[in-house]
Symmetry: C2
Subunit: 500 residues, 2 copies
């Protein structure tokens, strides 16, 4: 191996350590930190970020990367070292374009915007958030200006989460999907609604927690290299390929959400646990993109966790734990209830058939914002109009409409679409998996997931960041990301449940 | 404020942030980390340590400190800024003397020594540990050689934990104390032993935990700026003046140890929570020395937590929680039991009357090792001889003798004495507190601790590292550290309990 590569790896290894340390601090902030600890923690995270940024963008790193790019010209692009240099060079290029003063300014603006968003949502008053969102949008535009002009300014934002993906790619995927999903929803709406009142009875938190961990273990999430904790907003985080943690929460008004959240975060975690250990402390560690990551979490939560075979195996035990809540509820009735389709206001509570519509709405608004084609003051009305158009419902207030998600307050514009893309990829992979493992349903019906996880490890997980998302999906399924498998999946599933 | 002081504070503020981040990672390692996470965590901690060391010992910092020392010559030594420069200069001077290669070598040697110690203790076979301890001692001697010659080579080690304290100071304190403690123990040994079998019944862990937290809250440990977690070996740790955590453990064979451990660690934590918030992110944050720190933990654990007034208030409630365990046990009988004096092999389980003897034994052996006056192979015999001499017992094996403590395996030679000094300081302060708060016993008997904590905050806690330990004790009590108050305290307490 080249001496220069060794040298770069030593530096970026330390940068990775600082990133892992910051991840531990952030996890602790959510999971453990006493209320008064926030200010010091913010300062500690700022220092870690600043030092990591300085190290990652030093002249020395720039020189090493320049030299290594030349050295690896014409080298086997499929080798780990070539991938390392490619990804390190891309990260470096992005990092040096954004001046530290901008990062500092962004931190100040988004901290205030977040506070304003909390207040605005609490009072359901968009006017409180509006001036802050305008400033956030100005910063997003400024951020775009640091990069070479792309086909579309939104491309620059998207590329941070889906390397190589363009706005037009996403539009080409979503445009044909939208009418199909709207059509499916209309058909479902004409059918009698399934009953699900028993899902909202009182369920014991500890028992749900234990059942969730039993399921996660059965899936193959390795608790020797992970753990679950309680937080206000669930997430998955990685400190090392051997320390990959998940978090969940309990909401008394929708108790089973905790169970599906555990499955979801386990899906993310198994991806991170499955990356080639040789990528530890390198930019190749972690999932390749948010969409591919979401394909894993959604697969375990929905394609597995909301499937009939899964519950064929787990329902008898689950019913024993909650006998009074599920008294007289058949497997079929339970299965239908957890798959109930109902247009609703809140994205995070949306079912599989309506979820993507929430995303498309946000993507369209974000693109319009970046293009300057929408005045921020008009966002609430636009939001509500689109909700009516796509889902047939109009939020009663802005707290349940344009103010529901936190993302814009911290400047995270550009990644909502990855959630929907993740759904699509999960179904694409699922069709291929079922070809490769023809008795997959039978295995799941027996509570066996090792062949499924083995397939995912071999085809997806081990590669980490080595391949860009579209290339990886192409390599595994033979096609780029597209919506056809997801439409087939939804149609089949809901035809059965709703008798379409 | 001087521009240079601002500049130094900015750099050392970031060094402090890195230290806090490392503390979070270490805490997580003990309290939460999944089994497989250790290797990556070690790497992350090494990187944080390396970067902090580079920043703290940079030429720029050296130049700033040189300039500031000149600038502050003749300035009011009692000002916070003067204390800042003094402590920063001392830390810098120590840090630059120790070469990074030495730190790296030490890490390798002590990691292996720790593993060998674990095995040696498990097998009660000193010969496994011996060659490693020899290497550790060589490194300790090498460490001493980086510093200017002191009156005694052991001074250099001691100064890291008790700034300004010399070996002869400690010997001058311990020498007159030893015969008095031996004499007291002999008198106690002639009296009938107190009964304490009820302390070793089965106690519910959760109930003890809750009672312990109730006591810690009553003391004044602020859970809004702290929390308690479970670990294999209890400790207290600080991430900020507003995030000071404690840990504890449950041992089924001595259940109440958890309660006294919570009191002990709360004492440390209240010290750290009480430091002037202006010292955040500076070298002045934290307790001034290990001995003064231990004076706080011992005071809350022993002088308060094992006192009659404390249990006059808490015993009725405690008895309600554990009615069967304490059936027929009077307050007086309980008080006597938790203060039982019994020479034993293990330091960490020692009572107030025997504890210091364990320390003196270690101090004498450490000094002899550093002086080269003892061959490592002779340590077990020397240990056992001294145990017989001071406590009248001989360990049945090395696991319960020379191998019992982990400290030497990681090169921590020089700080055992601070534990005993802490006991002495606690009694010195206690006499002064009782003069300043004449009804302290009555207050404690009512479960009121605010006047006591207020006194400690005002006289000790707020100053953090501002004053060196001897100066602080002198300032508060009018005397340097000495053993007379502790002897008076022990004599009075055990005269009552054992009817001497």
């Amino acid at each position: 191996m080249s001496d220069k590569l060794d040298e770069l790896k030593a530096i970026l290894g330390e940068v990775a350590d600082l990133g892992s340390a910051a991840a531990v601090l952030s996890w602790d902030q959510q999971a453990n930190m006493p209320p008064a600890g926030g200010e010091a923690r913010g300062q500690q995270l700022a220092t870690l970020g600043k030092i990591a940024q300085q190290m990652a963008t030093s002249e020395k790193v720039g020189k090493l990367i320049d030299d290594l790019k030349k050295e690896f010209e014409g080298a086997d692009a499929d080798s780990d070292d070539a991938a390392y240099v490619r990804v390190a060079a891309r990260n470096y290029d992005k990092a040096v374009r954004v001046p530290p003063e901008f990062v500092a300014e962004q931190a100040v603006v988004t901290t205030k915007a977040f506070e304003a968003w909390v207040e605005a949502k609490g009072k359901s008053d968009f006017s409180i958030f509006r001036p802050h969102l305008e400033k956030v949008l100005d910063l997003v535009k400024k951020y775009i200006s640091f990069f070479p002009p792309a086909d579309h300014p939104y491309d620059t934002l998207l590329d941070d989460f889906e390397p190589g993906m363009k706005t037009s790619d996403v539009q080409d995927i979503f445009n044909p999907l939208r009418p199909k999903q709207v059509d499916l929803l209309k058909k479902i709406a004409k059918k009698p609604q399934v009953k699900d009142a028993f899902l909202y009875k009182k369920y014991n938190e500890k028992k749900l927690w234990d059942f969730g961990e039993e399921v996660a273990k059965a899936f193959g999430y390795d608790f020797n290299r992970g753990r679950q904790d309680k937080v206000p907003h669930p997430f998955q985080t990685t400190f090392s390929v051997n320390d990959v943690r998940i978090t969940t929460r309990f909401e008394a008004d929708k108790p089973l959400a905790m169970l599906f959240s555990t499955m979801h975060e386990s899906g993310h975690a198994m991806y991170e646990q499955g990356v080639n250990p040789a990528y530890e402390r390198t930019p190749l560690l972690g999932g390749t993109s948010l969409a591919v990551h979401e394909s894993q979490s959604r697969m375990w939560e929905n394609l597995v966790g909301r499937s009939m075979p899964f519950w064929e195996h787990f329902y008898p035990g689950f019913k024993k734990i909650f006998p009074s809540q599920l008294d007289g509820v058949s497997l079929k009735a339970f299965y239908k209830a957890i798959n109930k389709v109902e247009p609703s206001f809140i994205r995070v509570n949306a079912d599989e058939a309506t979820y993507n519509m929430h995303i498309m709405l946000r993507l369209e608004l974000e693109i319009a914002m970046v293009e300057g084609k929408v005045d921020i003051k008009d966002l609430p009305d636009l939001w509500n109009t689109k909700m009516q158009e796509y889902l047939g419902v109009t939020p009663p207030n802005d707290a349940q409409g344009v103010l529901q998600d936190v993302h814009w307050s911290y400047g995270a514009i550009g990644y909502f679409s990855t959630y929907a893309l993740g759904n699509l990829v999960s179904a694409q992979l699922w069709e291929k998996i079922n070809k490769d493992i023809p008795d997959l349903d039978d295995q799941i019906g027996k509570g066996k997931f090792d062949a499924l996880l083995g397939w995912l490890r071999e085809k997806i997980h081990q590669y980490g960041h080595k391949y860009d998302p579209q290339d990886l999906v192409q390599k595994v399924t033979g096609s780029r990301i597209n919506s056809a498998p997801y439409v087939r999946y939804l149609t089949k599933k809901y035809s059965d449940i709703y008798g379409l």
